[in-house]
């Protein structure tokens, strides 16, 4: 894995893209909210949101630890204007095909940038304590702290 060329997760996450007290009726509503946050961040064209919904129909982006990582299909790449992350927390949970999702990390990435981003994110979530802290985070500072690269992983 070529971590040295990958941007840090935190560098792609604008403070206004961290929304910690959201509510969603269902999975599709949650994905649309994640898409809207990416749109407001200037990272995507609106058509990327359809690509996110299509990806979700193809396979769930639920990854465990109460976290889903909605992102577009390969065909949606053209709708990405810049690489970005958004973090939406749903304290009441969202029913994700029977799984309870508390946090959605939305991803927009051009080229193969998503692979390195997902690898960093997965490494954070593999630590149950960090995953639990992310589910419980109430301030953007906490989110930044949790997603910061862990020097021990280098």
């Amino acid at each position: 894995m070529s971590d040295e060329t990958a941007p840090a997760l935190t560098a792609l996450l604008a403070e206004e893209s961290i929304r910690l007290d959201e509510k969603a009726d269902d999975k599709e509503d949650a994905i649309r909210q994640v898409g809207a946050a990416l749109l407001q961040a200037g990272a995507i064209d609106a058509s990327y949101i359809d690509a996110m919904l299509e990806r979700e129909r193809s396979v769930s982006t639920f990854v465990g630890e109460g976290v889903a990582i909605p992102h577009g299909t390969l065909a949606g790449k053209d709708s990405v204007k810049k690489d970005a992350l958004v973090v939406l927390r749903f304290p009441d949970g969202v029913d994700w095909d029977g799984n309870d999702v508390r946090v959605c990390v939305g991803i927009a990435a051009r080229g193969n940038g998503h692979i390195a981003l997902l690898a960093q994110l997965a490494t954070v979530l593999l630590d149950p304590d960090r995953a639990a802290a992310l589910r419980a985070a109430t301030t953007s500072d906490e989110v930044y702290e949790l997603l910061k690269p862990d020097p021990e992983d280098e």
Partner: protein, 89 residues
């Protein structure tokens, strides 16, 4: 321990749909399966987070290994998955 070395065929690498399908299949294999990247990092193949954490791209070489009675059969099936472009199906 039985193992297979495979080149990842999925055009998007081992993430998203291919990673989900692969880890689901590994979870159903009946024996614990380990996935190791070319860099030598090993994870539980049945863990989607573990698989994603390796950040495996298209064309990268990985090794899968397993122990137990059904290891050979399980590895054959999983190796075939990795050899297939899972994002196309």
């Amino acid at each position: 321990m039985p193992e297979r070395t495979v080149t990842v065929a999925s055009s998007v690498g081992l993430h998203a749909r291919p990673a989900s399908l692969f880890s689901q299949a590994a979870a159903k294999a009946g024996v614990p399966v380990t996935l190791t990247s070319a860099a030598g990092k090993s994870v539980n193949a049945a863990s989607i987070l573990g698989v994603l954490s390796l950040g495996i791209g298209h064309g990268e070489v990985v090794t899968i290994s397993a122990e137990g009675d059904d290891a050979e059969t399980a590895l054959d099936g999983l190796a075939e998955m990795l050899n297939t472009d899972l994002d196309k199906e």
